[in-house]
């Protein structure tokens, strides 16, 4: 990489015939080794993380862990992350309810309504910008915009997760809508369907597998977010289903606290919680991939 050739054109004349062949072969071999080394180095953490989270998590993972909440002190043994699991489910659920329809509609606008429109271009550009906003900043925003007024709670956490999910859904839906063949739309119009009917009955259904892939990736991402929740849901030892007025925990918050405390019982719970979270996130990711590859086959 240190000496990338400037031109994009495959050299027609000189392919280093000035250099002895042995050196060229050696260099080729060396770089092949380096490439393989890079692959090896990248795979090591994957294997280590999967193995260690599973091994350490299983040691504490039991029925009690899954069905009870945290004791009020990290020192105490027993209990589990039910408060976190419920919190994650509620907040990610609410965030999905907000961001999925909004995201899909926004993508529909970009692709179907605003093809050469400056507004659509603007929306598209800024949804990209939004995707790059650090999640901790999203948390700060929701803190200043909502928490100052209404206090910490599940709804505020969900708002921050929705903002994180939104651009992911917009972008993936947009990509999928673009792939819907024109013939389909034309056929629908030819049958006398209105534009909204075409979108609802023809375009969205045919893009559905792709869209759901994007949605699931967004859900997986939201379930794994910690930083924005520190600033909006705050975390709690207690199991609660209150949507506002009371701080709420999440799996990620519970793990973060567990990773920062010196007590064996608290750390053990953190590992089990990490296994729980990893399974949830990976299920969403893997299912998303499967759906994506299925739809590719059918296309």
């Amino acid at each position: 990489m240190d000496r990338w050739a400037g031109s994009r054109i495959v050299p027609g004349v000189c392919l280093r015939e000035c250099k002895p062949a042995r050196r060229r072969v050696w260099r080729n071999r060396r770089n092949t080794t380096l490439v393989l080394l890079a692959v090896g180095l990248t795979l090591i953490p994957v294997i280590m993380i999967l193995y260690q989270i599973t091994a350490r998590g299983i040691a504490t993972m039991d029925w009690e862990f899954l069905t009870s909440s945290m004791p009020f002190s990290f020192r105490r043994e027993g209990g589990g992350f039910l408060n976190g699991l419920v919190g994650t489910a509620i907040m990610v659920g609410l965030a999905s309810a907000i961001s999925i329809p909004l995201g899909i509609l926004a993508a529909v606008y970009i692709v179907e309504y605003g093809k050469r429109n400056w507004l659509a271009k603007l929306i598209r550009f800024f949804s990209d910008v939004m995707a790059g906003v650090p999640s901790v900043f999203v948390g700060l925003f929701v803190y200043t915009a909502l928490v100052i007024q209404f206090g910490f709670g599940a709804l505020m956490g969900a708002a921050s997760l929705a903002i994180i999910m939104l651009p992911i859904i917009v972008r993936s839906t947009e990509e999928m809508l673009k792939l819907v063949p024109h013939e389909l739309k034309d056929a629908s119009y030819a049958l006398g369907a209105a534009k909204w009917q075409t979108i609802m009955r023809v375009i969205l259904p045919s893009a559905a597998p792709g869209i759901s892939t994007g949605v699931m990736l967004a859900v997986g991402r939201a379930a794994g977010e910690t930083a924005p929740l520190i600033l909006t849901a705050l975390g709690s030892y207690q199991l609660t289903a209150k949507l506002w007025g009371a701080p709420m925990s999440s799996l990620t918050l519970a793990i973060f606290d567990g990773a920062r405390n010196p007590f064996a019982a608290g750390q053990a719970r953190a590992w089990a919680g990490a296994l729980e979270l990893l399974i949830i996130v990976l299920v969403f990711t893997v299912v998303a991939r499967v759906v994506a590859s299925r739809s590719r086959i059918s296309r």
Binding site: M1, R3, W4, A5, R8, V10, P11, R27, N28, N31, V35, L36, L37, A38, V39, T42, P45, I49, L50, I53, L102, G103, L105, V108, Y109, G114, L119, A120, I123, F125, F126, D128, G132, V133, P134, S135, V136, F137, L140, F141, T144, A145, I148, L166, V170, G192, A194, K195, G224, E225, T226, A227, F256, A259, R260, A274, L277, V281, L282, T285
Partner: protein
């Protein structure tokens, strides 16, 4: 079915424009949220910007109970850890993406591609937990000791060496952004026409010469863009860094000493902060936001330009 009957009554058109407005409003909402994001946070942080003046970003004196909020040490930490992450992640990502596009047999490609995607899906808090309890004793501390013992004469490797440091945070960041850069580079290299490759081989190129002359030049803009997107992610990464950077407010030239980053200080101190301290943390967020937006826009511009080629 009923479409035609609705149209006759003029309901269809009304429903149509209603739908259009709803769709447009959803799009506009994104703009609104983003605009309000900037306004709301900046307005909250304004009193602290005002009272601290330029020393907010130029001062490294951070003492909330004395009302001193200089965030230079955090900016420095964010930049240093991100640079370390890139130094490690870019070569790795190039290697992996080249392997996937140029070297790998078909079947292996699927498995390794899958594994890399898996790495991208792991939540940051899990990286943090794993980093602190496994990577720190197993790799970070020994490596830090090794570097300071053998290369300690270079200022950036000066001891005392700590695993919880810019270096430790940089390594965990590298692991986290490698899959991102890899998948983008892979897309870029995939677009290189096979004809180009064949042409290079036909001229007697070795595999590496083919890559150097046919694949890499074509993907340059894309690779730079991917790197910048990885950088954007690294700058804003919070939890794993908060657990591994060592939480020490100072500017240190040695990467083996503990430091602090912008995102990490927000996550760590928010729960105990009150009043101006909170405003200062929001202010850090505003600076961080500005930094990542600049990097990301630059990256998008590069990737876009590439996409249009």
């Amino acid at each position: 079915m009923s479409a035609r009957s609705w149209q006759r009554k003029g309901v269809g058109r009304k429903a149509d424009s209603l739908f259009a407005i709803m769709a447009a409003l959803s799009g506009v909402l994104i703009l609104l949220v983003l605009a309000y994001m900037v306004i709301s946070t900046t307005a909250t942080a304004l009193p602290v910007f005002g009272s601290q003046g330029i020393s907010f970003i130029a001062g490294s004196e951070w003492s909330p109970s004395n009302g001193q909020f200089g965030i230079l040490a955090f900016i420095y930490g964010t930049v240093v850890t991100s640079v370390i992450a890139l130094v490690i992640a870019v070569p790795l990502s190039l290697g992996v993406s080249l392997f996937l596009t140029e070297y790998s047999p078909r079947r292996l490609r699927g498995i390794i591609g899958y594994a890399v995607d898996l790495l991208a899906a792991v939540p940051s808090v899990i990286y943090g937990l794993w980093g602190v309890f496994i990577l720190l004793p197993l790799f970070l501390q020994p490596t830090a000791d090794f570097l300071s013992d053998n290369l300690g004469f270079i200022p950036i490797f000066k001891g005392p060496a700590s695993g919880l440091s810019y270096f430790g945070a940089g390594v965990i960041l590298a692991i986290m952004i490698t899959p991102i850069i890899t998948s983008l580079c892979r897309e870029v290299f995939d677009t290189v026409p096979n004809a180009d490759r064949q042409a290079a081989y036909a001229l007697g190129a070795t595999k590496w010469e083919m890559i150097r002359q046919a694949v890499l030049p074509r993907g340059r803009a894309g690779v730079v863009g991917a790197t910048m997107l990885g950088l954007g992610r690294a700058l804003g990464e919070t939890i794993a860094v908060a657990l591994l950077i060592g939480s020490s407010v100072k500017v240190d030239t040695s990467v083996l000493s503990p430091g602090y980053s912008m995102a990490a200080v927000i996550a760590n101190q928010f729960q105990e902060a009150t009043g101006d301290h909170i405003r200062a943390l929001v202010g850090i967020g505003v600076v961080l936001f500005g930094l990542t937006i600049i990097i990301n826009m630059g990256a998008r511009a590069l990737v876009w330009r590439f996409n249009r080629v």
